[in-house]
Amino acid sequence: MTRHETISNPETVLPATPIALAPERPAIDLSSGKYLKLWQGPQHPGITGNMSVELTVCGDEVVEGKTHVGYLHRGFEKLMERRSFIQCFPIVCRVCVPEPDFNEYCYAGAIEELAGIEAPIRAQWIRTLILEMGRINSYLMYLGGQAGALGLGVVGQWTTYVRDLMLDRFEELTGARIYHMFILPGGVRDGLPEGFDGRMEETLREIERTMADVDEVMFHNAVFKKRTKGVGVIPPELIDAYGVTGPNARAAGLPNDVRRDQPYLVYPQLSFEPVTATASDMFARSDVRRRDLLMSVDLIRQILADMPREGALMAKLPNVLHWKIPRGETYVRGECSRGEYGYYAVTDGSGFPRRINVRGPSYTHAMALLEHLIPGTNIADVAALMVSLHTYPPEIER
């Protein structure tokens, strides 16, 4: 415990006050004819992925919202219990679709820790590179979604276009667009291909150009400001109550970033400062993500400049067919684009994990927090509000 001195002014850290629960609302009498039940989702273009929000509306105002998930449940945590450690590796990335690499990293990190393996230095640099690339992808998707939810479709076109360029880099590096399966327990599958740096630099420049356009069209747009400022505010005192992490917490002024608070991989060797804002509304959240994206661009440049080009990529693993890991439990976390992503892994000395629990940031954001924020908003804002929390349902229900 030495790092905490570096943490900025303690005023921003929340005092341990009693948690304010959502105010008790009078029971809603649906048969009074005053209210209307409205389902947003699962078949609804304004919903992020396959989930649904059950709204009770009174006029244009929403009085109650309930999140329903489970449409994407595949039972990963159960499936992993009947797969050996190396067999789990190809399925973990499928837990979260838009940013799959964090699953691979957290799983690999947890298994390495329990098995007492250390990934080689070069592999750690490549892992960091992949995670930052994935973060950019995820943010680009978010920006398109946030603009699209407010009817500004053209931003989605632009960001998806540059996201495709980034997917090309992924393809070059890992061979796949979406599910990369690159971060193995023990290291990574391969090094960088020849000429990767140059093409990456081109992609980053294109991203920066597009972001300048997005900045102009979206963040300096009077209508966008009008729709997002002061809407969907997460009060700072509710951050801990609802387990808010990542950009959502940073937009409320809490400099909470796992990359700096509990550095993993090679983050201690990179220089960056968590991006924060104070307003905690929809606009602040999108702005934090935009600046975070640009910070990731900078981080990738740092990584490519500093990373070692020679060295091992894989630690020596035991025979993976008979790989047994002694009894133990651990929790490995990382800062993904939506907040704290973590794997809680328990082993029991056999060749299979005893239990693996995925802690996705959307789990708290989309369930309890969204239900808390929805009452009192306008129907038109619900979709945008949900996007602004940046939730991906597959990681909620796994």
Binding site: M1, I7, A16, I19, N256, Q262, E329, R333, V346, E397
Partner: protein, 178 residues
């Protein structure tokens, strides 16, 4: 972390302690001692962030292990509290008044493990599954493969290999000769 644990030991009865990493400790506590300890950690020691609440099924010992992982944002450290509850009378005190978000975790545990949390809001509502009629699926005695084979229509022609035998047959000389 050491001083913190010393402090805690003086005030609360703590069970076995595992120091997993310098910033991550797992502590076993009694079922009744959990709530005061969590409240103390939250209000006095700065562990304000409930990272996760989950369960592990130790079916051999007929126990569920509930893990409450709390995080101190300021100092970047975590404590995992393990609580063991018997499998056949699986019930635990709710902590949704300490962290409202815990209600979601408790709903999931209720559904996936069948652990009861009396008093937790909407705990008995369906969360992920719909129209589930079998054992809670995350319990170890629920066999997902058998269930899937029985419940769903399968397309014939799918082959499943045991990796160890498959590799042996493919890679070794006598395997290839066969």
């Amino acid at each position: 972390m050491r001083t913190l644990l010393e402090n805690l030991k003086e005030r609360f009865p703590l069970g076995p302690i595992t120091e997993q990493r310098p910033d991550l400790v797992f502590v076993t506590v009694e079922r009744s001692g959990l709530r005061p300890l969590l409240a103390h950690l939250r209000d006095r020691e700065g562990f304000t962030h409930l990272v996760l609440l989950t369960a592990v099924d130790w079916i051999e010992e007929n126990l569920f292990q509930l893990t409450y992982l709390v995080h101190d944002r300021r100092r970047g450290r975590d404590i995992g509290l393990r609580v063991l509850v018997p499998r056949d009378a699986a019930e635990m005190e709710t902590i949704h008044d300490l962290w409202p978000t815990a209600a979601t975790y408790q709903r999931e545990l209720r559904e996936m493990f069948g652990i009861g949390f009396p008093g937790s809001p909407r705990v008995d509502e369906e969360f992920i599954l719909e129209g589930w009629v079998d054992l809670p699926p995350y319990r170890r005695d629920f066999d997902t493969k058998a269930f899937a084979e029985e419940a769903f229509a399968h397309r014939p022609g799918r082959e499943t290999h045991d990796p160890a035998t498959h590799m042996r047959e493919r890679l070794t000389a006598q395997g290839r000769a066969k």
